[in-house]
Structures are given as C-alpha cells and as structure tokens.
C-alpha cells in the first residue's frame, strides 16, 4: 500500500498531508511545530500518521518537505558570520544597495543594515570587462591579504562577488581556489555559482543570503535524513523549492537559496492544483495565517513567477513563485488613535502571545478576536484541538476598542473586520494594477487557517463573484509539496542584441543550458522519467532598464527562427505593458532553461452526487452586516458533492472555519471543494 507524504512546517503548526496512491484519498494532520528543535515535529507527525491513519513509515514511498529553517535564519540573522570579497573600489555594493529608502517620505528612514557589514568586506585586485574579457588578472596576493583580514574578523564563510562574473566566473573561482589552499574548511560562495545574473547588488545579496543560511540548512537536512532513516522511512526525502518544484534534500544542502521561499510557493502550487482540478481559469490564491496574508495570481492552472521576492530585510533574485504580502494575518492588532481612527495592523500579536481569545496572555484585540465576538469562529476547537477559543477574552479585548469608538461590542468587532478587509482590498488593487488584471474577473481561492474565514468577505469587497474553498484549506502547502514536480532552473547572462549576428552565440548558450539542465535532472536529481525542457529569454527593447521573461518554443531554437523569438517578445511586451514596437531593436539579457520531471498527479476521488440541503449541526447566532442573525453551522464533512446552501452560514472543519456572508450561496463540487457564488 504505497503512500505519499507531504510535510510543511510553519510558525505555529506542522502540516501533514497523506495521499493514498491506490485510491487517491487524502488525509491530513497538524501537530504543533517545535521551533527550538527543528525536525522533532516531523517525527511526532509520523507517529501521528501511524496512529491515526494506520500508515507505517515503511509504506511511505515519496516524502516531500518544506522547512522554514533557512528563511528564519535570514529573518533573524542567525546564520553564519560572513566576509565578502569584492572588486577593488566597489566595497559598498551591499551597503548602498540600490539607494532608495524604504519610506522616502520619512527623513529618518534607513535601509536595512547589510547582511555583511562594511568592516568584513574586503577588496581584491583584478578586473573583467562587461563582455567577460580580462582587463587585469586576479591578484592572488590580494586575495590572501583579504583572507587574512577575514580570518582576523572571525569570518565563518566567504562570499566572493566580483564585477562581471556573470559573464566569466574565472576570477571568482580562482579566488575560491586561493582560499581553499589555506582554509579548505571555510565555506566559499561564488556569486556566479549561486545565480549568475547581471546587476552586482542583486547577485551579491542573493549569494550573501544563501551563504548566511546554508550551513544551518545543511545541518538541518542532515538531521532530518538521519531521523527519517531511523523512523524507517525508506523514501529519499525531497524538499520543496521557491520555484514551486521539489529536489532531493541532499541537493538542498548546497542549494539552500532555492528553498528559502518554498513555503509560500508550495501553497500557490497547491492552490493552482485545486484551481486546475476545479476548472477555474483565473484564480487568486489567498493564504492567511496568524501572522501573514499572501496572494498569488494563478492563470490557467499555473502561478506567475517573479524574481526579487522578499526574505526578511532582503530580496533574493532567483526564480520564485510570485507571492505578494497583503497584510499581517489573523493576529493583526486593532487600535484607535487620537482622532478616533480605527487601524488594524501592521502590529501583530503573532503566534505568541497570539489573539486574546487563544488565552495565552494576549490582551490586544486582533482580527481573530473580532471574528470570535461576531460568532464566526469559536464553535469548536481550532487547529486539531490545540487551541480552545475563549470568547470572554475576545469580548474584553474588543470592548477596549468599542469604548473610544462609541460603538457596541459587535459593531466594533465588525468595524475591525471591515477595516482589515479594506486594507487587503487596497493591497490587492495594487497587485492587480501592477499585473494589469482586473480582480473582478478572478475567483478567490482562500486557504490557510484564516483564509476561508476572511476570504468570502474580501471577495465581496473586491467584487469577485466566486470563491473556491478547497477541501483541505489548512494543509494546502503540504499538498502543494506533495504534488509538485521536480523542477530546476539554469541561467546564462548573454547581454546580446537579438539579431542575426548574435544568434549563434544565443543558440550556443541555449545548448549549454540544455546540457546543464539535463545533467542536473539525470545526475544530481537522479530522475529517470520523462522530462520537459522550457527555454525562455529575459529580453527588453534597447534603452529599457528592465527585462521581461519570454517563454520560447524549442522548435524556434532548433530552426534558428529569429523572427519567431522577436515576435514572442513583442507579443509578451504588448500583453504586459499594453504596447509594443515592432521596429525597435531588442536585447536578450539572460537566457533561462527550466527542466521539469513530472511526478504522477494524484487522482482525487470524485464524490457521488447527492441532492438536497446538508444537515446543520445547529443554528448559531452571528453578527454580520450590522445585524444579529441566526446561521446554520455545518460540519465540513457533512457537505457532500451536490449539496447547496445559502449564506449566512458557518462551515467548520478541523483546521479552519469558512464564513459565508449573506448574499452568497454555495455548492459542493465533485472534489469536495466549496464553490461560493455572490448573488
């Protein structure tokens, strides 16, 4: 009886999602995460899976894992002490970044402190030109001097980031060799090896973030592998990646930069899977937890990608599923200022102490407390019995907001929710304008602990007509990891004009990328199944300062079809920016190749269609849209394919609550998803 297991570890919970490969049935489980001893929750969860579902470790044939060890190391700056070697007279690459202040209206606004402070940045002699030719050889003696000073400064690892290494990594590699001669024990991270893009700050900060977290992630994965072996899991563990794919945990030890944002990426992949299955062409996933609220745009079952996604104080510039933060989640704190202005966030009660109603010492009113006062949550335990909701504490917290507002408790609670929703409305409006889409044409796909609670209200505010609540909204990231393909990215920066003269160079570069991608998936990844290669080029009109990624057809490369490549660029430019110029010269800045090895998709069993209305557990009293109302409370498990229901109503399941407001009606689809329609 083979099973696949996906595990995603977040701040509060570790989510487990088990897929029965024979029947396609999904089972889910949450245990509290153990930030102090990362990995312990995996073992606890395995025990839970065995106990609860009778699935032994030996039956697990595919194991995927998403971890926050790397991202937390960067956010808390608890990784290793790095030194940085740079080209002489360019010491301030991290210090200056791209200059802009985080809040340019504020005279005291400061860029975050760099990950490697200036006193541990050392200059070496040697210079390459923009085309990669050597203008001045690398001076090994200067590297030795830099190394001595780095050692004196207590460096535990060294990032080497020299100008124009994206075109020619020779100087960086030579510097690494010099370091290794004297200190073979010291980890060295060459920027061209981490991700060889043009733009020195972006490449250097990506390498520094990687180096900072790498030893900690490697140690964690070592421990995880050992623990799984000991627990009897024979399957080789896979880790989820920021690009929405998976790779062998063994590879994660040296490529931790590719894993940093895997949690949010896996959630979007899970959402994309649900959207595809449900036949939804345009979806926005909405992942709301206790401390975060994130949105991804999913078109035709695929999430959009971006680079420059945020990790703590920094951005990393590797291909990442584009996920945009729109708030601070259910723990966002409400406050009233001197002008009786009600604000919600950005302060958050986080997971400790958490909302007042969790009874863990929090006293500030949060969104979750407001939902509790409104009677929308608290009809059972949350998070697999790990939290018992104390309504009295929520009421006391909300009363402190109600008094200065001159409102009743329920009115104040609803105000908190409305203000929070309007903040999310603002952020999603920005996202839609940035991407050139109209939110009203999208279906909202909420998940995470608080997504289905707030999502329908947000959809109403945005004028979205449909909300799709997946069957297992609490563990969608774990599901996403479970069903993700093996996926690798390679890149070469070419900085070439897209013309007949440069075409041979471009094609040769693609040939190298293809060979490297195949080597990765066959040798590093040891994947023997069928693979897909997806070439693309980052291009722009000459004179522009930003590139767009244009997917290419391998047939065009095979036939050296310059016109087709150019046409693809013009079309993509037109789609994104609303205009194109067929006459203007084009530059190809970087070429990329994605290689995918597909993992068999689960066939989620379809439910038999039932008719009629579901049976409610009971009627509960809620407050919504300015009035007290009676609403049926449904158990999610009682909602079967074909059932219809009308808002207002509340749907509870082990890991989350769905709140259907008045004016919305719902139906259960054949996969058990709730499809809510705004009348």
């Amino acid at each position: 009886m083979p099973y696949r297991l996906g595990v995603d570890i977040g701040g509060t919970f570790a989510d487990f999602c088990v897929l029965d490969e024979t029947t396609g049935a999904l089972s889910t489980l949450k245990v509290l995460s153990t930030p102090a001893t990362p990995g312990a929750e995996v073992i606890a969860g395995l025990a839970g899976v065995a106990q609860r579902f009778g699935i032994g470790a030996d039956a697990i044939t595919w194991f995927t894992h998403g971890t926050t060890v790397g991202v937390n190391a960067v956010i808390q700056r608890r990784g290793i002490r790095l030194a940085l070697f740079v080209t002489r007279h360019f010491r301030d690459v991290l210090e200056l970044a791209r200059l802009k202040s985080p809040d340019p209206y504020h005279l005291l606004s400061q860029r975050p402190k760099p990950l490697v402070p200036r006193e541990r940045v050392f200059e070496v002699d040697g210079r390459l030109g923009a085309d990669g030719t050597e203008l001045e050889p690398l001076d090994e003696a200067s590297v030795e001097v830099a190394l001595e000073r780095a050692e004196a400064a207590g460096a535990e690892g060294i990032v080497v980031a020299l100008l124009h290494s994206y075109r020619n990594p020779a100087h960086e590699h030579a510097a690494r060799a010099v370091i290794a001669r004297r200190r073979p024990d010291l980890p060295v991270y060459c920027s061209a090896d981490v991700w060889p893009i043009i733009r020195e700050y972006e490449r250097t900060v990506t390498a520094a973030v990687h180096g900072h977290a790498q030893p900690r992630v490697a140690r964690y994965l070592d421990a995880l592998q050992a623990a799984l072996r000991q627990a009897g899991v024979a399957a080789e563990p896979m880790v989820t990646k920021s690009n929405g794919g998976v790779m062998r945990a063994e590879l994660g030890k040296t490529r931790c930069v590719e894993m940093l944002l895997s949690g949010t990426a896996a959630g979007a992949i899970g959402a994309a899977f649900v959207a595809r299955q449900a036949g939804v062409a345009r979806a926005m996933s909405l992942d709301i937890g206790g401390t975060s609220a994130d949105v991804a745009v999913i078109i035709d079952g695929a999430p959009s990608y971006g680079t420059g996604e945020r990790v703590g104080d920094f951005q990393v510039f590797i291909p990442t599923v584009a996920v945009t933060s729109i708030g601070e989640g259910g723990g966002s704190i409400a406050a009233v200022d001197a002008f009786n202005r009600l604000t919600v966030g950005p302060e958050s009660a986080g997971s400790t102490p958490g909302p007042a109603c969790y009874g863990r010492g929090g006293t500030s009113a949060t969104i979750t407390d407001a939902m509790c006062v409104l009677g929308l949550i608290g009809h059972g335990a949350l998070g697999y019995d790990s939290v018992t909701v104390r309504r009295d504490l929520a009421e006391a917290a909300v009363d402190r907001i109600a008094a200065p507002l001159g409102r009743t408790r329920e009115q104040a609670a609803e105000a908190i929710v409305q203000v929070a929703i309007s903040g999310m409305y603002r952020e999603i409006s920005k996202l839609a304008a940035r991407q050139g889409v109209d939110a009203r044409e999208f279906c909202l796909l909420p998940f995470g602990g608080a997504g289905p609670m707030l999502g329908p209200l947000l959809a109403r505010e945005l004028g979205m007509r449909e909300v799709l609540v997946p069957a297992t909204p609490g563990v969608l990231s774990a599901l996403g990891g479970l069903i993700a393909d093996i996926r690798g990215d390679v890149i070469e920066t070419v900085y070439a004009d897209l013309d007949a003269a440069s075409l041979p160079r471009i094609l040769a570069s693609f040939a190298r990328l293809e060979a490297e991608a195949m080597r990765w998936i066959r040798e590093d990844q040891r994947f023997q199944g069928e693979v897909t290669l997806k070439p693309s080029a980052e291009m722009r009109y000459r004179g522009q300062s930003f590139e767009i990624e244009v997917p290419l057809d391998r047939a065009w490369l095979a036939s050296a079809d310059l016109a087709a490549i150019a046409e693809a660029f013009h079309r993509t430019h037109e789609r994104i920016y609303g205009h194109a110029d067929a006459e203007a010269p084009i530059q190809a800045i970087a070429l990329r190749m994605v290689v995918e090895g597909s993992v068999p998709r689960p066939r989620i069993p379809e439910q038999a269609r039932e008719t009629g209305t579901p049976a409610a557990l009971r009627e509960v009293e809620i407050w919504l849209d300015g009035a007290r109302r009676s609403a049926p409370l449904y158990a999610r498990s009682a909602l079967r394919h074909g059932h219809r229901f009308a808002g207002p109503c509340i749907v509870v399941q082990e890991d989350c609550t769905t709140c259907v407001p008045p004016g919305m009606s719902g139906e259960v689809d054949r996969f058990g998803n709730l499809r809510l329609i705004l009348a």
Partner: protein, 654 residues
C-alpha cells in the same frame, strides 16, 4: 455632517487603492526609461475644486502630495464626461512647475454630476526648446524651455484632439517617448475613474462626497496636532545655493518659520530676487504652493508618520513670498531648474523645524543628487549613446536617534542608482570606483551620512558629461547641536594627475578620450558634539573604513589603542557647543560680509526695483560691496552701493 470614523478609514483605504492603482498602471505602461528609473510622476484624486485627497505612497515623486489643481480646473469652464484636460505651462495657474511636467486632469461624473477629478503628471525627458532635455541653468526665459500648452482639452467626450497632439509631437526631440508616456497617463486617469466609480457603488454618492472632504479635514486636524506639539516661536533659517547662475553669486534662501499654536506662517521674505537663470520656483502668490510646502510635508510626516498625505496637511500653514523673487517669479522667468532650488528650500524648512524641535529632527542632509548623463559614441558599434548613469547622492544628517544613513537618504531617499555592470554594458565608459567617500559625513555624537563617489574613464573624443544640480562645493550642509557639517562636494577632471582640473559647480563638460571624471556628493551633517561620540562607535567607523585614523584624531580625539591620548584628545575638545548651527568657515566668511543687516538692506532695495532690474542690480551691488574697503556689515555699504548704481542709472530711481 462628517461620516463616522470607521467608514472614513475604510473609505481612506479605498481612496488609497485608487491612487495606487493609477500609479501602478502608469508605471507599468509608460514608455520612457526616465519614468521607470526616476519615478518622476504623480497620480492622485482631487475634490471638484482641486484639492488632492489621495496620493500613492509606493510609487512616484515625493514632492507633490496635496498639489492644488484648483487654478487649472477653473481655467476650463465646460466639463463633460469623457474629457481629459492638460497643461504644461507654469504660468497658467502654477500647477505645472516647469515645462517638462505634463499634467492631466479628468473630470469624473456620477449620474451626470461632476464628483471629483483624476489627476497626475509625468516629467517628459524633453519638450523641445533651446537644449536637449529642455533644462539648463543658463536659460533666462520660459520661452527657451520648450513648447507650452495652456490648459486645454486633449480629449473631448472621449475623442482625442489629434491636432493638438501633432503640434506637441512636432516640437519635441523624442516624440515616440512622449506619446507613449502620454498614453500611460491616459490609462492612469481612466483607471482612477473606474476605481472612483467602484467606490461610489460601494459607499453611495453622499458618503463619497462627504468622505473625501472629511479625509482632507482629518489631514488638517492631524497637522494641527503636530504643530501643537511644537513650542510657539519664530525660527529663522538661511541657506544658500553656491551660484545663482553658471559661475554666479550665492543664491540666498531665507525662511522665518512662525509657530503659533496649531498654525504656522512661513515667511520667505529675504530670499533672493528673481534670477536671470532657470532656478526660479514659480509659485504664483499661492500661500500654500506645493513647491514651498515639500519640506513642510517631510517635516510633519517625520514628526508623525500616521498623518494622511493629502492636501489637508498644508491647511494650517500660510506662506509669505514677495513677488519678483526666486521663490515667486513673474512671467517670463525661466523655471526649468527649479528642482535645485526646491531641494535646497526643503533643507531650509527642515532646518527651521529642526530649530523648533531639535530633539526630534535631523541635521542638514547632503545636497540633492546631481543626475550624471553621458553623451558619447560607442567605438565598438559607432552608435551614439546618451545615458543617465547615476544620481550622485550623499547621506542624511545625523539625528537625535542615531547616525544619518550613508550614501543617500532624508529628502533624497526616493532616488535609485544604476548597477555598475549595467552602466559598463550599456555605455562605453570604464567605472573605476563607486561607493562611499570616507570622512565625508559631518562629525558628531551622531555622525552625518557619508557621500557617494563615482569615478569613470571615458573612451571617445567629444564625450559630453552633464551633471545637473551641481552644488555645495562652497557652502556645506549644516550641523546642529554641536555637530559638524558634512564635507563639500567635488567634481574633478583627471584627479590626482598633473592635468587635474577642479570643475567646481560646472554642470556640462566636454572630455577627451582617456579623461577621468571624479564626482563626490556633499556629505550629511552631524548631530551633537563629536567628542561625546562613544569611543567604540568611533572605532567601529574606523574599522569599517567610514572614517580615517586622521579624522578619528582630528574630529573625535580618538587614538586607537592609546587610552591616555584619547582621553586627552577628547578632553581638549570638550568645549560647550558654540552655537546651534555650524556650516564651517566658508559660510562664516561669507556672512561676515553679507550680514543679516546687509541682506535686509538688499532685500528692501531690490523689492522696490522693477523685476527685470533685480538680478542685475544684485550683481552690481555685490561687486561694489566686494570692492568697498570700509565694510561695516550694518547695511550702510549696501545702501551706498545702490546709491552709486542709481547715480549711474537714474532710470531705476525709487
């Protein structure tokens, strides 16, 4: 009756969403690199009478929060659904402030009634005129600064006026870019209209109408609360631009900030006369003109960042700006480089507020960053390359809360640099150095931020390097509470060679192949006495290479590894701070000649002269005072100089 505060907060979020959606739409669809790189554009929503109630926070220029569109809105008398109006004439209502800024406003209707306007501008790279990019300090009349459109309808009831467009495009140097950017502006105001209609459907027309006024009222109440927290008093402040024209005299900007309870007056009397150069700021006698208020908005937002960034913020302030001065010129004064004056004026306003609340605001920032442009031929391809390579920026001033940010910050925080690798790939130059300049930050208990330095070698003969906004080679930024001023800026051709040439405040230079340019911005100034800076902080700066060992000794009295010498060095410097403000010897020497009394006399004399005589008279009086062996600094030498001038030109007799 105001709407309830909760609904207002929700409405505020929706209004913000509309303004931000407009900005992202414009940014996404704009054609010119200038818009993408410098974000020199705005979007917003105004009340029917033109007060801006919503502006974007994330994108766009920081200078135009609360811009009053009233004068141009009133210039058109018949608005219909589907209209879009435009102007880029600074003298038609003083909404546009130099010709490259093309402003649009679109009336938004609901059930036949005009309910608000969607507005915005883009700085076009070129609008024609005497010089490429349409901007030069040397220009003297607005007619030289490009084609100008008075307020007019570009789109009437949905129909674009092709003729108007053709005239515009015929007169500019990069018509494709301008037209592309104009389309982005049209998309932006249309997005604004759609979002406003969404808002009205969500809130109802009555709540919308009242709510947008309440947002402005809330901004005003917030501003009043900030002002109430500032002690009443008069807070005068003066600073100078090094030159009032290429190679010219200093240009004085003077403010007396009067705080009275919840209100303030900003009296700019005593600032220089209208100039025969393009540094004039056209403000049209508007007591709250946006160019006068940029520093105000920065100061209030820094004192309380929960304030709404809208037109209400400016209501408790009244500006006094005599006509025919650099801050209120009359037609047809050139205004193209008003940004340089405006940036320095921001510092003057920050300085006045700093005097009022010294424990809440920072010392003087570096000068506004010059934009470096290179115009050359790429010998590899034979192509002409014109590129903006980088803004040259300096740090923020030290503040009561810590050191100023290095490299950029304060009122320069909106600028972005260009990667060295991109510059070298695009422009045939070799960049030799880019980074922080040690010792350029003013010493202090909290050090001023360091300046950046850029050094590059050009390859082709006839390469022209332009550095707009060059300043602060003479007069430094100002340290406070005993802090020292930041270092002056520098501009060198072939530095450290026997061919070295100090280019000073030159803003255009033609180079030979192999020539090296070094440009260093001015530094931010320090806050608090340097000798009080903890020794560890000085040593940390030394270890980081932000200061040299020489400066550690000279400025801070710290000798690494020698506790006795350090104690002695710091003891020797532990004098009580001499005075509130320190901008170093250059300014002291200047102000020994050009005293308050002399400036008072000059201001009085020039105010009575016909405007077209003023800059000339200033130059002559300066020359005569300079030559006067018997200066007393009490105004008498100025009056004597003017008497001589009157004798020479009886036609200017008062």
């Amino acid at each position: 009756m105001p709407i309830d505060p909760v609904t207002l907060q929700i409405l505020a979020n929706h209004a913000q969403a509309a303004a931000e959606s407009m900005a992202f739409t414009l940014f996404r669809t704009a054609h010119s690199t200038f818009v993408k790189e410098t974000e020199d554009f705005t979007t917003g929503l105004t009340t029917p009478d033109g007060q801006t109630f919503a502006s974007p926070r994330e994108l766009g220029a920081t200078w135009f929060v609360g811009l009053d569109y009233g004068p141009v809105i009133r210039a058109i008398d018949d608005y219909r659904e589907g209209d879009v109006c435009m102007t880029n004439d600074p003298y038609s209502g003083f909404v546009c402030t130099h010709p490259p800024d093309l402003h649009l406003w679109k009336p938004i209707f609901w059930e036949g009634e005009l309910v608000c306007f969607a507005v915005g501008h883009i700085h076009n790279t070129d609008v024609g005129g005497a010089v490429p990019a349409s901007l030069s300090r040397a220009l003297t009349e607005v007619h030289q600064e490009g084609i100008r459109f008075p307020p007019c309808k570009l789109v009437s009831e949905g129909r674009l006026d092709r003729r108007l467009l053709d005239i515009m495009l015929l007169n500019v140097r990069a018509p494709t870019q301008n037209w592309g950017d104009l389309k982005a502006q049209l998309a932006s105001v249309n997005t604004g209209e759609r979002k406003v209609h969404e808002m009205i459907r969500r809130f109802g027309i009555e709540t919308f109408r009242q709510g947008i006024r309440d947002l402005l009222d809330l901004g005003e109440r917030q501003a009043r609360r900030v002002l109430a927290s500032i002690p009443d008093g008069d807070y005068p402040f003066t600073d100078y631009l090094d030159e009032d024209a290429p190679g010219g005299l200093p240009c004085r900007l003077h403010l007396n900030l009067k705080i009275r309870g919840e209100e303030a007056v900003m009296d700019f009397t005593g600032s220089d006369p209208q100039l025969a150069a393009s540094l004039n700021m056209p403000t049209g006698n508007n007591p709250r003109h946006i160019l006068l208020m940029v520093g105000w908005n920065y100061a209030l937002y820094t004192l309380d960042s929960s304030v709404l960034l809208n037109g209400g913020l400016m209501r408790p302030c009244t500006c006094i700006v005599p006509e025919g001065t650099v801050l209120n010129p009359v037609f047809p004064a050139a205004v193209g480089m008003r940004s340089m004056t405006c940036a320095r004026l921001q510092g003057v306003i920050m300085g006045a507020f700093q005097r009022a609340v010294p424990d809440r605001l920072p010392a003087g920032p570096a000068s506004g960053g010059p934009m470096m442009n290179v115009n050359t031929i790429d010998s590899r391809t034979g192509r002409r390359v014109m590129a903006a390579i980088d803004p040259i920026t300096g740090g923020a001033g030290g503040s009561p809360f810590g050191d100023g940010m290095d490299g950029s910050g304060a009122n320069n925080g909106f600028l972005k640099n260009t990667p060295v690798e991109i510059n070298e790939a695009e422009v045939p130059i070799r960049i030799l150095r880019y980074g922080l300049e040690p010792d350029s930050g003013g010493a202090g208990l909290h050090r001023g931020g360091l300046a950046t330095v850029l050094e590059f070698r050009v390859q082709a003969p006839g390469t022209v390097v332009t550095a707009r906004n060059r300043d602060r080679t003479r007069f430094r930024s100002w340290g406070v509470q005993g802090g020292k001023p930041g270092a002056p800026s520098q501009f060198w051709r072939n530095p450290d060679t026997d061919r070295a040439e100090n280019l000073g405040n030159t803003d255009v230079v033609t180079l030979d192949p192999g020539d090296v340019i070094r440009i260093v911005c001015s530094g931010g100034s320090g806050w608090g006495p340097a000798w009080q800076r903890p020794v560890e902080a000085v040593l940390a700066d030394l270890a980081a290479g932000k200061i040299t060992a020489e400066a550690a000794m000279r400025d801070y009295g710290v000798v690494p590894g020698d506790a006795a010498a350090t104690a002695a060095g710091r003891g020797a410097r532990a004098a009580p701070p001499a005075r509130g403000l320190d901008a170093r010897a250059e300014r002291d020497a200047y102000e020994r000649v050009w005293t308050e009394a002399n400036y008072a006399a000059l201001t009085e004399i020039l105010a009575l002269l016909p405007v077209h005589w003023r800059h000339y008279a200033k130059r002559r009086i300066f020359a005569l005072v300079e030559a006067d062996p018997d200066r007393r600094g009490d105004g008498s030498e100025v009056r004597a100089a003017f008497a001589a001038l009157q004798a020479e030109f009886p036609q200017i007799a008062h």
